[in-house]
């Protein structure tokens, strides 16, 4: 008998001894439709008791703790466009909502064009979590500290959602409504992120402050997306996480950077704008004062990294 040949008791015997000690209730259904229309139909029909399953790295923890008791789980990973990464001919990207961090990491081109978005997504959890967790799930979980969201806000990513009323597009920053809440309508599912083609001299970066080196939740997260031309910043977007009930687009910080050579005066103004935008909470991860200060520090550092990358592109 080899270890590599596990017992196959078959369904008849297996049926008797499922451990199932986690959940006692049995009025739950799992479906894995192959088309978006089927998924929307099932999800909308089940109402507020339904949950979308992408990577499940938030959902299964919430089910385990009893915080969520879904009547229906709709697994969207068998729907082609949910797990596809497409590079368009003009150099844009369309990333399915359920694409895992590892799949995006392993894409030959994505990280070269959007290094800040990629590093933000790859900061979510461990390698095991990366094998499953998706940007779509991170956005819909609507934690103010979700790592991928500030970088996607900075990138100007557009979110395609589909529901009983058809498809529509939102900006990433329009999706979160507050901690754990989104502006999606009943029955709507996030389908994909669209990232526009980038001009030469454009790049991005994401930094988060955590007291450890890995496996932690952001105390502050900052995404910066820059376009540089002849040493001058011609376009910028700044996203801030974990400093307000939702991830913020900080237009005043971007404005301070645009038209400058990223000199001390511009950086100071942008850092101040970030700190001014903060409306954080005091908790065990960081105080209001600390988060407010660090937001400006991360803006400076992320800008430096994005500028260096932009120069090399």
């Amino acid at each position: 008998m080899q270890w590599s040949a596990p017992r196959n008791d078959g369904p008849s015997q297996a049926a008797g001894n499922t451990t199932g000690n986690t959940f006692i209730m049995s009025d739950i259904q799992y479906v894995a439709p192959r088309t978006l229309d089927e998924a929307i139909g099932a999800y909308a029909a089940a109402g507020s008791a339904a949950r979308i399953l992408a990577g499940g790295t938030d959902l299964l923890v919430q089910m385990r703790s009893g915080a969520v008791k879904p009547g229906l789980i709709v697994d969207i990973k068998k729907i082609g466009e949910m797990t596809a990464i497409e590079e368009t001919k003009d150099g844009g990207f369309r990333v399915g909502a359920a694409v895992s961090g590892m799949a995006l990491h392993d894409h030959p081109r994505f990280g070269k064009v959007w290094p800040g978005v990629l590093e933000a997504i790859n900061l979510i959890g461990s390698k095991q979590v990366q094998g499953r967790a998706s940007a779509g799930g991170n956005l819909c979980n609507a934690s103010p500290a979700g790592d991928s969201v500030p970088a996607l806000v900075a990138a100007g990513a557009v979110v395609t959602v589909a529901g009983p009323q058809g498809r529509r597009e939102l900006k990433v920053e329009e999706v979160p409504a507050g901690p754990g809440r989104t502006n999606l309508k009943p029955g709507e599912i996030v389908v994909a992120f669209t990232l526009l083609p980038r001009p030469k001299g454009a790049s991005d970066a994401y930094l988060r402050m955590i007291p450890r080196t890995e496996m932690d939740i952001a105390v502050v997260g900052c995404g910066v997306n820059l376009t540089m031309k002849g040493g001058v910043c011609t376009d910028a977007r700044v996203g801030l996480g974990a400093v307000a009930p939702t991830v913020l687009l900080v237009e005043a910080a971007a404005k301070a950077l645009i038209g400058s050579k990223l000199d001390e005066k511009a950086l100071e103004a942008a850092a101040r704008a970030c700190s001014a935008a903060c409306r954080p909470i005091d908790d065990k991860r960081g105080t209001i004062v600390y988060r407010t200060k660090v937001a400006g520090v991360l803006l400076r550092r992320a800008t430096a990294i994005a500028a260096k990358r932009a120069q090399e592109r």
């Binding site: 270890w3 049926a15 990577g55 790295t57 923890v61 461990s126 095991q128 499953r132 496996m215």
Partner: protein, 160 residues
């Protein structure tokens, strides 16, 4: 409530089992499938003791529904040794005493194996980051990291 019928492949063997819609893959492995090498530490994806691969992707089996295994290829710690012959990582963990209580060990081995399949020549930093999702409360990690680095070096040599 009808159970779900799942057809999957585990360690190269076609397998079928029944599960509740909300059973995790770890529930199925340790229950009907009788594969108790994968451990439940935290049940929230923090500790990595339940690590398996799904289509060569390293995941926590506690964060995956058993129903999701349908049509996929899974590998667990039980598939690592070839009969009596231990995998080089298993042999090195023994030689280096890279374990004490053993609860994290199957997850450490599965995760380390997944790393070396992707990257046969990792730096120590890469090993430490890769294994950040596998918690060990006994060893302090040094022996584990050393065992992975030495195994990698020996496997590279053997491959030449």
């Amino acid at each position: 409530m009808a159970k779900l019928h799942v057809s999957t492949t585990i360690n190269g063997e076609p397998m079928e089992f029944l599960c509740e819609p909300n059973d995790t893959m770890l529930d199925a492995l340790r229950g009907p499938l009788g594969l108790t090498g994968s451990k439940e530490g935290c049940a929230s994806g923090d500790c990595g003791a339940c690590s398996i691969t799904v289509d060569d992707q390293l995941v926590c089996s506690c964060l995956m529904l058993a129903a999701e295994a349908d049509g996929h290829e899974l590998r667990t710690i039980e598939g690592m040794a070839q009969g009596e012959k231990l995998h080089p990582l298993q042999q090195k963990f023994l030689e280096q005493a890279a374990l004490q209580c053993g609860i994290c060990t199957s997850g450490m081995l599965v995760a380390s194996d997944a790393l070396l399949r992707r990257n046969p020549n990792p730096t120590e930093e890469e090993v430490r980051f890769w294994l950040a999702g596998n918690l060990c409360r006994c060893t302090g990690y040094d022996k584990i990291v050393r065992a992975v680095m030495e195994t990698a070096a020996e496997m590279r040599e053997a491959a030449q």
